[in-house]
């Protein structure tokens, strides 16, 4: 089973796709460790917000990840 990563805005370019499935990792740190270093850095940059299964996380939150979860990486919005 896997975790689905969703990349919004310019993070899509960093990841090379708007979505990606990765092997389930227990924590964000473990998940980042399995990604390309450049992408992991882009996802952890200042002002990138995260949503876990559709709910926004606050800075410092450390969600427990399980199979089938969705993590969305949200750079600053650029309006309508």
């Amino acid at each position: 089973m896997a975790i689905r990563l969703v990349f919004l805005g310019r993070l899509e370019d960093a990841a090379g796709a708007s979505e990606r499935e990765v092997a389930t990792a227990p924590s964000l740190d473990a998940l980042y460790a399995g990604l390309e270093p450049d992408l992991a850095a882009a996802l952890q940059a200042d002002r990138i917000k995260l949503a876990h299964n559709g709910a926004l996380l606050r800075a410092g939150d450390a969600p427990q990840l399980t199979d089938g979860d969705e993590l969305a990486f949200l750079p600053p919005v650029s309006g309508g």
Binding site: G54, A72, V77
Partner: protein, 152 residues
């Protein structure tokens, strides 16, 4: 209880028809203030061929509904309409329509202005432009945050 109609449109919408239906639905309003945002035509020679707005399903529409609810709590309205596009658009396409119906015009003007400032700076949309066949993501504008600060 004022009516709230908030929608995310993945294909083109007709602002005149939306506004006519909204106005007809609020006969008790003394005025309707609306704002239509459209994709601007660039100067001749500019290479912007298309604009795309991406959204994130679990957040974008729920946050737009929350904004609509906040607007209804802040001003005395008969109704509020918000329609916002996602997807690929070209010059002249409508992007966003906000309409506020109120018994008195000042509430309608302020409510529409507030809703637009918050939609522009806080709603979950990411924009990119296609220039010379290449898509590039657009970063947030400082002006949008200054507009938002008017209300705090």
């Amino acid at each position: 209880m004022p009516g709230l109609d908030v929608r995310l449109a993945s294909t083109a919408f007709d602002p005149a028809a939306e506004l006519a239906a909204f106005t007809a639905g609020h006969p008790q309003a003394g005025g309707v203030v609306s704002f239509l945002g459209q994709v601007r035509a660039e100067a001749p020679g500019s290479a912007v061929e298309a604009l795309e707005l991406r959204h994130y399903g679990p957040l974008t529409l729920p946050a737009m509904r929350d904004l609509g609810t906040a607007v209804l709590e802040r001003w005395v309205l008969e109704g509020l309409l918000i329609v916002h596009r996602s997807g690929v658009m070209v010059a002249g396409d409508p992007i966003v329509l906000v309409a506020a119906a109120a018994r008195h015009r000042r509430d309608a003007f302020a409510a529409a202005d507030f809703a637009m400032d918050h939609l522009k700076s806080e709603s979950w949309f990411w924009k990119r432009e296609k220039v010379a066949g290449q898509w590039r993501w657009i970063e947030p504008r400082a002006q949008d945050f200054e507009d938002l600060a008017r209300w705090s």
